[in-house]
């Protein structure tokens, strides 16, 4: 019914040589890049229409295609009504047969080309609704609507996001956090999903609403940290081999002698005491040992009782509460510390999920989790190793089996670890300008064509290209505006200044002029 060609508007006709994946067509109006078209095929078991997406749109004018053209030339041509000669050509990529897309939700790409001269129709809202509209009952949430077909809602598949991961990439201010806001709100409220957000700038507010959002203070029990984690917290890089050696010695001793197990609440204290005893014992290395001690006491001063706390949660559910949006605030800690916190939590999560799946629910963490990593280029960088990067690589590989999904958010795609990025099958790409960023993203995506990539610089705030298994077909989408205030908004600089000036004015008015008193 929706495929009655008689009801479709003809946009133009195919010209030139065709292939099974690309066509060029003359058009009655300039086709919009990112708009869908329906291409006529000879009838087959898959129907007689193939869906395509416009990747390029050109208007040409033979009168002006002249070598060495001058302003005078154009001026004279203008007098003879140049536009008369305009021709419009669109280029579209063929995505798949319409009938199976709507009926069986299956994307079957055509394996033979359409005929030159065949009709190209505008994609009607009915056809597009048939393709994009999905139900929350089947695990889909709405993310926005098609940019070029207003009113056609676009849904994404959350199972696919969790099992195949996601990257949200854009220049700053293009709408990444808003996208996270929309996704998280709906995942939590419509699907009772569980989300952990790694908030590097303490920017997220009640993203999923008051009863459904938890702010999680990062806390780790000192006795639960691995040696490697201490190396990182103390910034002992591999060159500091002596300091590492004495720390390792003390750390092992505490466990071997059962002190760590007996008095875990005194772990840091005992560690410091033990290392102090090394000072006398290993005089030759006194310098290294006292350096180590300094660092240790600095760490305790800064974080003990807060980040390193003996009342740190012992059960993962206390950190990531099921059915909630859990936000770990990392805005107040250094990058190294954030790295330890995030890797620690991720590793914990992955292990518990493994336990859960292996024990068929007997133990471990009970539900799948989507982990959103803001500023992913900081914690999962290219050309540098971090603890989070190692865990993330494992999550990316194994998460699918155990229900741990990663959503990497970044404004510097080219600084994200290549492996991690290409493991994200799903992508939401908003405005990107930097050519290297674009190329990097293209390399990490199977389906981002050169032409779509070209578009990225021209996207408006909130407009995105959706790629990957979470969407039935690649789509150019205007992301919904998050219902709740997702993040603190930009500072309105001039208002702040004015506020300050007005306050000063008031103060001055209140302060009696000392000379007045004399009169």
């Amino acid at each position: 019914m929706v495929l009655d060609k008689g009801k479709l508007n003809v946009l133009g006709h195919i010209v030139g040589e065709t292939s099974h994946s690309k066509i060029r067509f003359t058009s009655l109006r300039p086709p919009r890049v990112g708009e869908y078209v329906l291409v006529e095929y000879p009838p087959s078991s898959n129907g007689d229409l193939v869906l395509g997406i416009v990747e390029r749109s050109n208007i040409g004018n033979p009168s002006l295609m002249v070598e060495g053209i001058t302003p005078r030339y154009v001026e004279k041509a203008e007098r003879l009504n140049l536009e008369r000669n305009n021709y419009m050509i669109g280029q579209a990529r063929l995505l798949g047969w319409v009938k199976p897309l709507i009926k069986d939700r299956k994307l079957i790409t055509p394996n033979y080309p359409p005929k030159p001269g065949a009709r190209v129709y505008e994609a009607s809202p009915e056809v597009l609704r048939g393709i994009f509209e999905r139900s929350p009952n089947e695990g889909w949430i709405r993310i926005g609507e098609l940019v070029n077909h207003k009113g056609v809602p676009v849904y994404v598949n959350v199972s696919s996001i969790v099992s195949r991961h996601l990257a949200i990439l854009a220049v700053t201010g293009a709408g990444k956090s808003n996208t996270v806001g929309v996704l998280v709100d709906r995942i939590v409220n419509e699907l009772d999903g569980t989300v952990l957000i790694v908030d590097m700038h303490n920017e997220y507010l009640e993203i999923a609403g008051p009863g459904k959002t938890r702010i999680v203070e990062p806390k780790m029990h000192p006795a639960n940290l691995s040696l490697q984690e201490y190396y990182n917290l103390l910034r002992l890089d591999p060159q500091a081999s002596k300091q590492r050696m004495y720390l390792r010695k003390a750390y092992r001793e505490l466990f071997q002698k059962g002190i760590a197990q007996k008095e875990p609440e005194k772990f840091l204290e005992k560690l410091e005491e033990l290392i102090e005893t090394y000072l006398a014992k290993y005089k030759g290395d006194a310098k290294s040992i006292s350096d180590l001690l300094n660092k240790l006491s600095e760490l305790r001063e800064r974080y003990e009782g807060r980040l390193l706390s003996i009342d740190a949660p012992t059960r993962l559910e206390q950190v990531i509460e099921p059915g909630m949006a859990n936000i770990i605030k990392l805005g107040d800690v250094d990058e190294e510390v954030a790295d330890v916190v995030v890797s620690h939590t991720l590793k914990w999560l992955l292990e518990e999920r493994k336990d859960y799946v292996m024990s068929s629910g007997g133990k471990g963490y009970p539900v799948p989790v989507l982990v959103v990593v803001e500023e992913a280029h900081v914690l999962i960088p290219r050309n540098r190793s971090t603890l989070t990067k190692n865990v993330a690589a494992r999550v990316a590989r194994e998460g699918r089996k155990f229900g741990v999904g990663l959503a990497l958010v970044s404004q510097r795609p080219k600084n994200i670890d290549e492996d991690a990025l290409s493991q994200t099958n799903n992508k939401i790409i908003l405005k990107l300008v930097e050519p290297n960023d674009k190329r990097y993203v293209q390399n990490a995506s199977e389906t981002l064509s050169e032409e779509l990539m070209d578009m990225l610089s021209d996207l408006n705030v909130g407009e995105a290209i959706l790629l990957g298994m979470m969407t039935p077909i690649p789509a150019l989408v205007k992301i919904d505006k998050a219902k709740r205030k997702t993040t603190g908004s930009d500072i309105m600089v001039h208002l702040e200044w004015r506020k300050w000036r007005e306050k000063q004015g008031e103060l001055e008015a209140e302060t009696p002029d000392p000379f007045d008193l004399m009169n």
Partner: protein, 398 residues
Amino acid sequence: MKDYLLEIALRKAGIIRSRVSEANLEPLRRVVEEYWKPYEPREIEPASYSAVDGSHNRVDFKGYTLYAVMGYGLARINDRVVEAPVGDVDLLLPPGVSERIQLYRETAEAIAAYKVSRSDLLMIDGSLKALLIHPRPLAGELALRSAINKAEERLGEEFFQEYWEGINNGLEGIRGESLVVDPFYSKKIIFSRGLLSSDDRGIIALLEYVEKLMVLRRVLEENIDEDRSRIVYISKTSRTMEYFKKAEIGEKDVVPVISDILLFTYFTEKPGYSKPLIIPLEEVKRLPDTGVLARIIRGFYDEVGIALTFTRIIEGGPVFKLEIPVRIASGGPSMEELESLIRRFMDYMKGLEVNGYPYPLIEVDKASKITRGDMHTIAQSIGLLPQITGREVLEEWF
């Protein structure tokens, strides 16, 4: 090969150089001095103007030819731009295919010109004189007579009167129409009168030729008033040697034989024009001087002449040929009137010029061009060529 030729050139260097100095350019320079008038045109855009051009192309199959012809007129009149395409696509059987296609194209151009008539300046690409030449089957005096006799026998004594009226009605009918599927009246007659045997070839040629002359008459009538002409034929290339012929060349002079265009191109640089020569329309004079045809065609063309001149609009720009049809019945315009007409045309053209050439002619040249690719598309879309896109395969069909 290059070395080989270079060797020869070097050995003959002396002789070759002496040839240059032997060549006596003086007589040519004198002609140019006598006829060339420097004139710096003013830049005036005419209130209304139009331009016409056309083209043809063909695909040959075994035993028949698919052709397409296109005349295209473009006018700017009262700030409105009007297009007048006139085209035809059909099959032809030999003989005389090339000539007939050429003739159709010329008729199509004339119809297009008629549709954009009555502007202040109608510019037509090509030569008016060349348009009047008889097609080959009618070339000899005898062949022409016999074709006319046969036509009158088959079609009736008064046939050409009806023909003239039919063509006139046709022209009025299509004046405002943008798509005319069958623009040629001759074809309608050929089919309705069953002139299909090879015996009828002479009549067919005559009908087609006469149609062109009749349409052309209407174009000229529309654009030549008693006092002034608004139509000009323009050629960028021409083999005319009317001015060259005026050179006084002595018995012993070694003078290069060159066309008028080259003559003025070599010996002048600045804007200007040559004093016009009036050329009678000799070709038409071979048509009979009695009967219907004489009245409708010869009678008209006898009173028309061509004012021939060569001009250049901007310094260093191209020289091109202008043919301005004028009435010569009552003595014709004076030399002064003619020159003022030429200067006005030059002013107008300067107002429309790009690189020394009127832009509207560039535009209509492009718009009317029928390419080999267009022919492929046409042949394919009507099923004369298989819809195969591999170019190699296509090549085998020609």
